[in-house]
């Protein structure tokens, strides 16, 4: 447990975050090279199938990010510690970026294979709802004037919004649509060729490292904002002249 804490402390520190950034960057470059030039193209779809190596990892990161939002929101409501809200907010923002990317990449893959950019398929619809839920989550944080109330409201939305994540994943099994059923995360085992699976695992690992780096960097930004706000609260002159300052010093 102590060793785990030490590793966690190192990763969240400046040196660890920098090392994670380099790992993520190298992993992403390596995964792009493998998926574009090494692994064979799909026999039926041709080269456009290579979009799988970015579409699936971005969807995975979105799932992961919103799972972290859920866990951190539960932890916040139980402990009322700001650090959990910081984690939830950072993860939600990264999750929204990657859900948006998933939708755009899906449209770019859908156009040549299905003939349409968008269709009201169950997987696509539930993913669009997921995107809107977490955009709402980020908006809710700005509504209340009181910071702790904003954290509480956000935590409730973060927990309720998570209900859509299993719905997105299972939508291809529960309803009929254009989107294919899972080919990796299935009880009977993966259905894709081993070389494609290996490349996909590499891409998922690289995108997960990128997610962790973005998460830590976003949390660092929030801490910097909190420190800046505490300086403003201590210095009334700076508070009056700052465009971001408010009556009670709480950032909206």
């Amino acid at each position: 447990m102590r060793a785990l804490r030490r590793v966690g402390g190192w990763i969240t520190g400046d040196r660890g975050r920098r090392a994670l950034g380099w790992t993520a960057g190298t992993g992403l470059a390596l995964s792009a090279a493998c998926s574009l030039f090494v692994v064979p193209a799909d026999a039926e779809q041709g080269v456009v199938q290579r979009l799988m190596y970015v579409h699936v990892p971005t969807a995975w990161v979105a799932y992961l990010a919103f799972t972290v939002v859920f866990a951190a929101s539960v932890a916040y409501l139980r402990t009322r510690r700001t650090r959990w809200d910081r984690l939830a907010e950072a993860s939600a923002e990264v999750g929204v970026v990657f859900t948006g990317l998933t939708i755009v990449l899906g449209a770019l893959w859908g156009r040549p294979t299905w003939g349409v950019w968008w269709t009201w398929d169950p997987r696509l619809t539930t993913t669009a709802i997921l995107f809107l839920i977490y955009l709402g989550y980020l908006a809710v944080r700005r509504l209340p004037e009181n910071a702790t109330r904003a954290y509480r409201w956000a935590a409730v939305v973060g927990i309720l919004g998570f209900l859509d994540v299993p719905l997105v994943h299972l939508s291809v099994l529960w309803w009929r649509g254009l989107h294919q059923p899972p080919s990796v995360l299935r009880v009977q085992g993966p259905t894709i060729a081993p070389s494609m699976l290996l490349t996909l695992i590499l891409a998922v690992a690289a995108f997960t490292a990128a997610y962790l780096w973005l998460l830590l960097t976003r949390m660092r930004l929030r801490r910097a904002e909190e420190r800046a706000m505490s300086v403003l609260l201590r210095d009334p002159v700076a508070r009056v002249t700052s465009p971001q300052s408010t009556e009670d010093g709480v950032r909206r």
């Binding site: 992403l28 792009a32 574009l36 080269v47 456009v48 290579r50 979009l51 970015v54 579409h55 971005t58 990264v94 970026v97 948006g100 990317l101 755009v104 990449l105 770019l108 893959w109 156009r111 040549p112 990128a210 780096w213 973005l214 960097t217 976003r218 660092r220 930004l221 910097a224 904002e225 420190r227 800046a228 300086v231 403003l232 210095d235 700076a238 700052s242």
Partner: protein, 38 residues
């Protein structure tokens, strides 16, 4: 082919753009805090 190129480009630009914006915002907030201290 153009869909594939567009997909990888969008992924690269969005991910790198978001990362750069986080670093820029952190730097700006830190600089503002130092300025306030003076």
């Amino acid at each position: 082919m153009s869909y594939l190129v567009a997909g990888y480009l969008v992924t690269g630009v969005v991910t790198a753009g978001y990362a750069a914006s986080l670093l820029r915002r952190t730097r700006r907030v830190s600089l503002a805090r130092r300025g306030t201290r003076k």
